[in-house]
Symmetry: C2
Subunit: 337 residues, 2 copies
């Protein structure tokens, strides 16, 4: 236990590197599980899954499982299989997301649905999702199974929620937070929490790690949604303006709409409905978002959740693992600057 | 145990009614679980799922779980939740299948993807699939979880296999049997087997019920694939010729191709590749299938697996449950006549 207060105001640029280094050895073992378990006699399965899994993702979610286990001093090996399971759930979700959004670019590469078609992406996603459950069942903890099956149901429900909110500029901030809490933060939370289960720690530590992951996940998604209005394709591996063109009422839009005059609101409504998709429309959207300080305040919200994530770690012993987990939060937020 | 020999040669028309009556009380409880667990704060979820789940399906798979439990004299209630879980897996698969195939008719009704679009069908399928795992986890048997998570992975793998075999007339009978063994028979087998687990019966009975379900599933699919070349929309709830137009190399096609002259083979190759999609092409296909006796022999194969299903029940006590399960096999095969 420690009373050290970590704050989000370091002067040097925060980095994910300490966490990457912390779990590098474990991650090699997780990658071995991932490679072994995406194998199939049907060549299309490893080919398509490998395109995305080997495609330069940060492995953020399994990294969180591994870092949390380090934080708790866990010395077993169960978390390797479970971290692979978490990455499979995430990959399955991405495959289906890209079908749902009709995306053609992810992490700077052509999407699987563009290369192999929507049917293959849907079915390989289903395969990875089933495989993730097989991995959990092999681990054999009903508690872990409960946490991850619940997270999966919440994610799927959040994705449907997002679909029904699509192109609706009147989405409220509360509804938006519900959606990102489900589609992003639930898996971050579960990824951290399961380490406390395998390490057989008290429920308070489970809940603390859940809170760390959940708040980090919300901060992460808020920053992603902000970056869509400030970045170019080089930064994000997706085109700036993707969310705008897809009519996603993310927080920058919700704030700019709420603060706009009637003319601005008419613009946002038309844009979300898909009638303002030219490059100059996006430029106008960015200028409205700047003038209403919508990005600044989206990032202020992200810092709020980031600080909560960091504070959730307060009860754990100081050390390399905790430092890395704190800096991961700072990194998540600093990406936007 | 019993030495009575059941054979597939009754003179009266076999019916599914005895099995329906056998499990009617249990099925009401299963339906209550299904309705309760497809609920969500997102109205689209019960609306879309309910369209398919309430849409006149026979509930064949949960019925097999319930009938198997009756065969074993199980008097508990765990199988209600698990039968609902099985139906959710099946429904999720159907939703994704219809997206993959671009189908617009299922059980005589417009498909969910036609009404609500592909994105909604993909995501609600994911939700039901996650919910099915939540139901299994609530039951708490790792053995049941292993059987059903493995079946799910096998189904998904079989669906990808079918996709990569699509439009290939040179598909072998062995490959075709692998595909239907995975995409159809695996869930039939698991649906039956889990009843032996909850009834805490010896592994031999688990395996016998697995064999009953698996062989019934293969027979069922063979007959389905035969019906596509003999029925009209009224019989099947789908249009005759759907498989033909989608270029599915089912057993009737595989046999007709193998037995055809060079001209016939050229026709089948072009047809599977999508270049013979007119009504008169389908009429020609049906005449080739008749002249090569491909339907007769597809149904002979179905009877072979049906007899194996019936023989797998040989070790169980005679009675109402066994009679109903035998007649269900006879019904599955008689549908084609």
């Amino acid at each position: 236990m420690s009373a050290t207060i970590h704050r989000l105001d370091k002067s040097t640029a925060p980095s994910l590197d300490p966490m990457v280094r912390l779990v590098a050895g474990d991650m090699n073992l997780v990658n071995a599980v991932i490679l072994a378990r995406m194998e199939s006699q049907i060549p299309l399965i490893p080919e398509l899954a490998g395109h995305l899994i080997a495609g330069g993702g940060k492995r953020m979610r399994p990294m969180l499982t591994l870092a949390s286990a380090r934080l708790l001093g866990y010395t077993g090996t169960r978390h390797h299989r479970l971290a692979a399971s978490v990455e499979f759930i995430h990959t399955a979700t991405l495959l289906h997301d890209d079908v749902v959004d009709g995306s053609d670019l992810r992490r700077g590469k052509r999407t699987a649905n563009l290369i192999w078609g929507n049917p293959a992406s849907v079915l390989v996603g289903d395969f990875l999702f089933s495989r993730s459950f097989e991995l959990m069942v092999e681990d054999g903890s009903l508690k872990v199974l409960k946490i991850l099956s619940n997270a999966s149901a919440v994610i799927a429900e959040g994705e449907v929620h997002q679909l029904t909110a699509a192109r609706r500029v009147e989405t409220t901030e509360e509804r938006y937070l519900d959606i990102i809490g489900a589609k992003t933060a639930a898996l971050f939370a579960a990824a951290c929490r399961i380490s406390a289960v395998v390490a057989e720690r008290p429920e308070a530590e489970e809940l603390a790690l859940d809170a760390y992951g959940r708040n980090l996940g919300i901060a992460f998604q808020l920053v992603d949604d902000a970056i869509d209005y400030v970045s170019d394709a080089g930064t994000m591996g997706k085109d700036a303006g993707d969310d705008f063109r897809e009519g996603k009422a993310t927080l920058p839009v919700i704030l700019a709409y709420a603060r706009g005059n009637p003319e601005d609101r008419a613009f946002w409504k038309a844009a979300m409905e898909g009638h303002r998709a030219r490059d100059e429309d996006f430029t106008h959207a960015v200028s409205l978002i700047r003038s209403t300080r919508a990005i600044d305040d989206t990032l202020a919200r992200a810092r709020h959740y980031g600080q909560r994530a960091i504070d959730a770690l307060g009860g754990f012993a100081n050390g390399q693992a905790k430092d890395a987990m704190v800096e991961a939060v700072e990194f998540a937020i600093a990406r936007a600057y």
